[in-house]
């Protein structure tokens, strides 16, 4: 296996709020190598966005971050902010769901991409604008030289997301974190954007961390998958480990709950009862216990002892955090 570009160890994020401490991310590990895609999946509130913001060093001041974030072996946690600014947007870049909020309505898109370049390169405005046009063209904006002079509101949602991707790629980052980059887009546009990300990866060997709740997208593009639940890792493994040998009841639940077009409809979808817990509300035992269909087979332990990731049969580092141990059989 290639050396990881980005390595995250025991990442913990706690928010200090009026309502008390909120442990939004409670000890997760992941890594991704050049040209590879790691997908992070899980329902809303599971800590996906907070994890990516922690890696980028862009959390609000009420957040406490612990653990290691290594970029090419260099520790980012605790780095002074001027050092971090040199890395952010340059070596590691973030694309998030809401393209509109990532763009300034008062500046042309070309200017914004050019400024992102000038932050890390000592070049003339003119040269930076040329670079911006090159990138806009690369991400598939037709007639890029002319469209660079347009404002964000003159673009469709899909085209705006392309602009944001151009901005993220303008400095040739080693790692791109894409947080639900297509969630707000229609499926035909989603297909275009995912194809674009794949092309970029192939050309530049970018390591991609893709945050998504769409298991279809994940199956298509991911090499490895991390399933998060309540700020923790429920399961991790290769994409085939997850889709063919899921070992955590939550992963199985997600797979069964998903309607799909490639098989005849089932009379009923498998459901996971209830809804995800708020961070820190389950203090002991397994955070999935109140919703788990398998807990009765294990008993007390699910309530008293927090399950840690342990190896499962699979292709490599397949692991799940569940006391059941062996792979649970098909969902009941």
């Amino acid at each position: 296996m290639a050396e990881p570009v980005l390595e995250v160890h025991d990442l913990r994020v706690t928010f200090d709020t009026e309502g008390g401490l909120v442990p939004a991310v409670d000890g997760i590990d992941f890594s991704v190598a050049a040209g590879q895609t790691l997908a992070i999946v899980g329902e809303s509130g599971s800590g996906k966005s907070v994890s990516s913001a922690a890696v980028m060093g862009i959390l609000p001041s009420n957040a406490e971050v612990k653990g290691e974030v290594l970029l090419d072996g260099r520790e980012l946690v605790g780095l002074p902010s001027d050092e971090l600014r040199k890395i952010r947007g340059n070596d590691i870049a973030l694309v998030f769901q809401d393209a509109l909020s990532a763009l300034n309505p008062y500046y042309t898109v070309g200017w914004q991409v050019a400024e992102a370049y000038r932050l890390h390169h000592d070049v003339s405005k003119k040269a930076a604008f040329q670079r911006a046009i090159e990138l806009l063209d690369k991400v598939g904006i037709p007639d890029a030289a002319r469209r660079a002079k347009s404002y964000p509101h003159e673009f469709s949602g899909g085209m705006r997301q392309r602009v944001v991707i151009a901005m993220a790629l303008v400095n040739d980052p080693r790692v791109l974190i894409a947080d639900e980059p297509t969630t707000a887009l229609d499926v035909t546009v989603q297909a275009q954007i995912m194809q674009l990300l794949a092309d970029v990866q192939e050309e530049f060997g970018t390591a991609l961390v893709l945050i998504s709740h769409d298991l279809g997208v994940v199956a298509e593009v991911a090499d490895d998958v991390l399933v998060m639940y309540a700020g923790r890792a429920a399961e991790r493994g290769t994409v085939r480990d997850l889709f063919h040998r899921a070992a955590h009841p939550y992963s199985l639940g997600l797979l069964g709950a998903m309607p799909r077009i490639d098989v005849p409809p089932r009379p009923r979808l498998t459901t996971i009862p209830g809804s995800p817990p708020s961070p820190g509300s389950i203090k002991t035992g397994c955070p999935f216990q109140p919703r788990c269909a398998y807990t009765e087979r294990v008993g007390e332990r699910c309530i008293t002892e927090r399950p840690e990731l342990t190896p499962r049969p699979g292709e490599g580092d397949h692991e799940a955090a569940c006391h059941l141990g062996r792979r649970p059989e098909a969902v009941v």
Binding site: E43, S44, S156, G158, M159, D186, V187, T188, Q190, A191, Q192, M194, Q195, H213, D214, L215, G216, V217, V218, A219, E220, A222, V239, R240, F243, H244, G253, L254, L255, G256, A257, M258, P259, R260, I261, D262, P264, P265, R266, P267, R268, L269, T270, T271, I272, P273, S275, P276
Partner: protein
């Protein structure tokens, strides 16, 4: 003999006049541009299409929350196109709407009890407490929820409240506009199963409006595909999903990712964006993005015609896709 028609739309158009900025004034958005559509008792019809294709507008015209610009709306066999005010009461008892965002469609200052009483009061009646509790039970909630407020519920529970409100006046047809698109996948499955249970228990019929083709595949026996305010294909779900005849349907289906690693799909990648409904293309609305377009496509708009002689499956295209061999 086909069963009773709950809803019939004939040549429905809904145009919005734009106001505001001077350069927009006088322009019209052709949100729905000539749709004919029938829902029979016992059916679940899916309405799919990308954002802006006119699904929500059509749903609102069909429930008579909006007046059509032209065309006819029949509900329960009666022409209700021009009904207003009190005359709409029986219409509301036949057709109800469930909205996408349970957060936005429930008044945060009203208790669940008050929210569920509203449809009764709109009919000029008052519900008993027992009636309200029964409604909650139907959607998997309980009596203790009656005095609570929307913010005390999860997204999935709020959507259950939205469904309970729609069921209050015992309608025959629910028009659900993106009923699960704001929900996480596990909760989405709960709500889809609930809709299926209610169909079996109460004999409900549905129109399920969704941009998610897999959701519609799961629930709908028949499906209609919208593009730029028109229906470009409709038919039994099995047929439309397995053998789409319209190039747009084919492209749309090919874009849906399937959760099977290693399976690569033959994807028809559409270029360009959906044209604006202010000035849709002449002839076939899809022709500016169609991989099969020819000169004739720019002349007159193709109408829905049977696919391979099957009257149930129809597509509006001069060069429909042949059935898969």
């Amino acid at each position: 003999m086909s069963s009773a028609e709950l809803l019939r739309l004939d040549g429905v158009r809904k145009y919005f006049g734009l106001r505001g900025a001077p350069w927009r004034t006088g322009q019209t958005v052709k949100a729905v541009d000539g749709v004919s559509f029938v829902v029979r008792k016992g059916e679940t019809v899916g309405l799919v299409g990308e954002s802006g294709s006119g699904k929500s507008t059509l749903a609102r015209v069909a429930t008579r929350l909006l007046d059509p610009t032209s065309g006819r709306v029949e509900i329960g066999g009666k022409d209700v196109t021009r009904f207003r005010g009190r005359r709409l009461r029986p219409v509301r008892r036949t057709v109800q709407m469930v909205f996408q965002d349970p957060q936005a469609s429930l008044n945060p200052r009203q208790s669940v009890g008050t929210i569920l009483s509203t449809p009764f009061r709109a009919q000029g009646t008052r519900p008993t407490r027992a009636q309200l509790i029964e409604l909650l039970h139907k959607v998997g909630l309980s009596e203790e929820h009656l005095e609570r407020y929307p913010h005390e519920f999860s997204g999935g529970q709020r959507q259950r409240i939205g469904i309970a409100r729609a069921l209050a006046v015992s309608p025959d047809l629910l028009i659900c506009d993106e009923p699960v698109s704001a929900l996480d996948v596990s909760v989405q499955a709960q709500v889809l199963n609930l809709l299926a249970d209610l169909r079996d228990e109460l004999g409900l019929s549905y129109v399920v409006v969704a941009h998610d083709l897999a959701v519609v595949r799961q629930v709908a026996s028949r499906v209609a595909v919208m593009y730029l305010g028109t229906i470009v294909e409709e038919g039994p779900s099995d047929q439309v999903y397995a053998a789409p005849a319209h190039p747009y349907t084919k492209a749309l289906l090919s874009a849906v990712p399937v959760p099977e690693p290693g399976v690569t799909r033959d994807r028809i990648v559409l270029t360009g964006d959906v044209p604006t409904p202010i000035s849709p293309p002449s002839g076939c609305p899809f022709r500016t993005r169609c991989y099969k377009a020819e000169d004739v496509c720019a002349t007159t708009r193709p109408v829905l015609e049977p696919v391979n002689g099957q009257t149930e499956h129809r597509a509006a295209c001069y060069f429909p896709e042949p059935p898969p061999s």
